[in-house]
């Protein structure tokens, strides 16, 4: 068997579009990210390890990852609820509420940051009432959780919504006709079909929260060992020209982001396979 010398594609523009895409990705993304990894790899292991395991840094990991986990969990519960309410129920103003869910995605994080701190400060609209019960949100770890919940809010809603819309009523009707109560149907039939989407949304909200900076720095108060998130430490070190320290911590964050993205891709693949 012989082949034509040149494999030609019928729709034109593959070389041009692919070439430009790779060039752009390469220049703006791959080379810089590779540069950071190379920079870090040129450091000695001891230098790297002491930078990433300094107690102040470890405290910031605990806060960043811990608060992100709590925020994502809150979003998992309320995001599923919001998606359910938006898909299944009718109430006045539903379209507007649905649109507003995207607000944290479109609103600049700095604006969100100053809005949240103003709301939750001890004199703020919400803060003054919480203050009565001795709950402090602004300048505390709770404030970090609030900010990270805010920016992760759209993710669970938007991943669960389409799956919920595509669920066939017939499966629920079948469950009901077989004698299951409504609660059992939701637990045994609906929830398992939503599981991959829920986990994907959870992971997305978590990934977004771990790296977040703008909405947190205003409300957290940035007290070392207590309310300092990891991205803030990177900024601080970069501003003091401690590039080695910043690069080491940045690499840890980059690897975490990469692993999270792998996890998310895996979950999305699972969601699609389930959807068939």
């Amino acid at each position: 068997m012989f082949f034509s010398a040149k494999q030609r594609r019928v729709i034109p523009g593959f070389g041009l579009t692919m070439g430009f895409s790779l060039l752009y990705l390469g220049f703006i993304f791959l080379i810089p990210v590779g540069g950071l990894l190379l920079y870090t790899s040129l450091m000695s292991w001891d230098e790297f390890w002491s930078a990433v395991s300094h107690p102040q840094v470890v405290a910031s990991y605990k806060l960043s990852f811990g608060a992100s986990l709590i925020g994502a969990t809150i979003n998992l519960v309320f995001g599923a609820l919001v998606a359910w309410v938006l898909v299944r129920y009718r109430f006045p103003g539903k379209k507007i509420v649905d649109a507003l869910v995207d607000l944290p995605f479109a609103l600049p994080t700095a604006v969100a940051g100053i809005a949240l701190v103003t709301l939750y400060a001890s004199t703020g609209w919400v803060g003054q009432y919480l203050n009565v019960f001795g709950i402090r949100v602004a300048y505390s770890q709770l404030g970090v959780v609030i900010a990270l919940t805010y920016i992760g809010l759209p993710f669970v809603v938007r991943t669960v919504q389409p799956v919920l819309e595509d669920l066939e009523a017939e499966r629920e009707e079948a469950s009901a006709s077989l004698g299951a109560s409504r609660f059992t149907t939701i637990r045994r039939v609906i929830l398992p079909s939503l599981l991959p989407a829920l986990l994907t949304g959870y992971a997305l909200a978590f990934a977004r929260a771990v790296g977040e900076y703008g909405s947190v720095v205003f409300i957290s108060g940035n007290m070392p060992y207590r309310t300092e998130i990891t991205p803030l430490l990177i900024v601080a070190k970069a501003e003091q020209y401690d590039y080695n320290g910043a690069a080491a911590i940045g690499t840890v964050m980059l690897v975490a982001a990469f692993l999270l993205l792998l996890l998310i891709n895996g979950l999305q693949w699972w969601t699609q396979r389930r959807g068939l």
Partner: protein
Amino acid sequence: MTTQTLTHVANPELAARWRRATEEPAWVRWTLIGVALTFLALFLVLPLLVVLYGAFEQGLQVWWAAISEPDALAAIRLSLLVVLIVVPINLVFGVAAAWAIAKFEFRGKPILISLIDMPFAISPVVVGLIFVILFGSQGWLGPWLAAHDMRIIFAVPGIVIVIAFGTMPFIARELIPLMQQQGKEEEEASLTLGASGWKTFWYVTLPNIKWGLIYGVILCNARALGEFGAVAVVSGRIRGETNTMPLHIEVLYNEYMFTAAFAVSSLLTGLALVTIAVKSFVEWLDERNRPAIASH
């Protein structure tokens, strides 16, 4: 006759309580709606109101003064300049990447899609750091840049680069699923009718992706104007020179000029509201067109 048929209707009380197999009892429904709306009011509506209240609390004149003072104007100008550079580049990239991914089969396609997704997951602060290490005065290329009298970090080029990096996925992510869903039959039909590649793109592909493209551009625009973490690292916050709108807000806030901070914020908030309004409109269009497509 009529009364007779009516008596066949079962106990009206029971009939009123009848519900579908896919429905919850009314009290459950309204409880869930109530909880969801309370959560959203607390997290979405209150922050929005606090920005608008803070901006206009002292009247329109104070608001106007805050956004028309020189430093604010400089920040707005810089932000618009950055957007004018970044959005077109990311537009070309988004269209090119979506065309390559949606219209062709090639090995490594999932990897390419993941790469485009990466900036979503990477902390904006790390993005800024990467470019400081590459181009900063203490960075790898710093001495060379200084010798050639070029500045990237603490200057406009650095801001443009980090924002381009951070907003790279938005238009591509909007277009890829849209173009994949459209398939390539219409393009093939156009080619069999003798149209060139460019004409096919212009007359057939572009009208089909128009609204997705517009939303992608507006989202990219909003995110580019709002980008904060990465810019905070590379800008150096030189007043009137390298302060973008979000950085200007931060400076005002830290100087306890809350009303001015909220005034500038209100501009970006308005833009965010426009963005989600356009998104709703595009989705509405899509839903309206869907039955027609499905019956093909």
